[in-house]
């Protein structure tokens, strides 16, 4: 990407500011692209909500004070964009919770990724679905096959719980130069030198840590 520095203002590298909108956009993009639910960005969401409320009040005041409608409409557009990001971020998370609700409630680690409200949602979702399955199907099955979580009583693990597919491939972009381990335990060592801006198709498990620590972004 060395030659891209002369590409002018439109290049993404000039947008390295870390305003809350940028952070929110990053969180939204990562959440959309990751196969599993990522830790909830609670502080960021609260800050974004605060800023949205502030701008909403400002816009009302502008309208009352007869500020140029053009200026008001521009502020409204900025507000709309931020609201879209926030809504879409929260919705993607809800979709994932619906998809993996039993999994999200199974371990504390998975549950700790959810906000308090999301936990309530996941629990109610899981309860309702379990109840629905029991009433419509499971009660009519032989005794050994009545569990929502297991195929049958002899299953040792919960083998009817959909889990995120972590061996899938994602597209990611490195934010700085660093060396990434391409191997898991028990595999031959193999590393990859990554430069700022490099784009990779990569197995999600490998970059999971780098994404959560902010070294890489999903695209």
């Amino acid at each position: 990407m060395a030659s891209s520095s002369d590409m002018g203002s439109a290049d993404f590298e000039s947008l390295s500011s870390t305003s809350d909108v940028e952070l929110l956009k990053r969180a939204w993009r990562n959440e959309k692209a990751a196969p599993e639910i990522l830790p909830y960005e609670g502080d960021l969401v609260e800050r974004a909500k605060g800023q949205i409320e502030l701008v909403e009040e400002n816009i009302e005041a502008y309208v009352e004070n007869g500020i140029d409608p053009l200026v008001v409409s521009l502020y409204q557009m900025d507000l709309d964009r931020t609201q879209f990001l926030l809504r879409s971020y929260l919705r993607v998370r809800l979709l994932k919770i619906e998809k993996f609700m039993f999994h999200s409630l199974k371990s504390e680690e998975a549950e700790s990724r959810l906000s308090e409200q999301e936990k309530v949602f996941a629990r109610r979702c899981a309860d309702d679905l379990a109840k629905h399955f029991e009433e419509s199907v499971l009660r009519k099955l032989p005794e050994n096959y009545q569990s929502v979580l297991k195929q049958s009583l002899i299953s040792e693990v919960d083998d009817m719980v959909p889990e995120p597919h972590l061996d899938t491939f994602v597209v990611c972009r490195s934010k700085s130069h660093f060396t990434l381990n391409l191997y898991e335990e028990g595999e031959s060592t193999q590393t990859e030198e990554m430069d700022r801006g490099d784009l990779y198709f990569i197995r999600y498990k490998i970059v999971k840590g780098a994404i959560e620590s902010g070294k890489m972004d999903l695209i």
């Binding site: 002369d6 290049d11 956009k25 502020y75 299953s155 994602v170």
Partner: protein
């Protein structure tokens, strides 16, 4: 659950790709006075007639629509540069040329909203279209050389291009990875050998891969 799962949950729609491109900065020349705008996305301005200023693309388009500014097309969006890029892209075995990550979206927004500000607009547009076609063709050919490793580097591939090949490349790489790793399958079989019912992995697949 089937009714609720959105198979495209992890993909970006063309509108979303455009939304992201709209945050890229472009240079405009305003023709009116305006106080600085303190947006959530950052501060821009103030705006003084004839003084060029950098603003996000969405703001530039909004001002342009109301006749409040003219665009200064980015340097890469010129007949000279694009001709060069196109020739280089057409070289056999060539790499992808450096273009802005959102070049397709930026170019399209400018063509739609600022046609009178782009010199040789029709020439520029057909060049961008040609470049896009050549690159897509190249990208398709490159997919054939993908190897089943854990990481595949993609140099200078743009947002739209990534989004287009993602579904196919993801499935292909997943399959490569799966077949490369016999021990993973073996591991699962030993774990489940005590449960004859689970030994056959097939019926569970629809639950996992959605």
């Amino acid at each position: 659950m089937a009714g609720q799962t959105d198979p495209h949950v992890s993909l970006f729609s063309p509108e979303e790709v455009e939304f992201m491109a709209e945050d890229e900065l472009v240079e405009i020349v305003p023709n009116m006075n305006m106080e600085p705008l303190n947006f959530i996305a950052g501060d821009f301005g103030r705006f003084i007639p004839q003084i060029p200023i950098q603003v996000p693309l969405w703001l530039a388009v909004a001002l342009k629509r109301r006749g409040k500014c003219t665009f200064r097309p980015p340097g890469w969006l010129s007949v000279d540069n694009l001709t060069q890029v196109l020739e280089a892209e057409r070289e056999p075995q060539s790499k992808f040329q450096a273009l802005p990550f959102s070049y397709v979206e930026i170019a399209r927004l400018l063509f739609d909203h600022a046609r009178d500000d782009i010199p040789d607009m029709y020439m520029v547009r057909s060049l961008v279209e040609d470049i896009r076609d050549v690159r897509l063709h190249k990208l398709e050919n490159n997919l054939g050389t993908f190897l089943g490793t854990s990481a595949v580097k993609m140099e200078n591939v743009s947002a739209m291009e990534v989004n287009l090949v993602r579904p196919f490349a993801r499935r292909a790489l997943e399959a490569f990875y799966k077949h490369d790793k016999p021990e993973v399958v073996a591991d699962r079989n030993t774990r489940s050998s005590r449960q004859p019912r689970e030994a056959n992995d097939e019926p569970r697949r629809p639950l996992r891969q959605r």
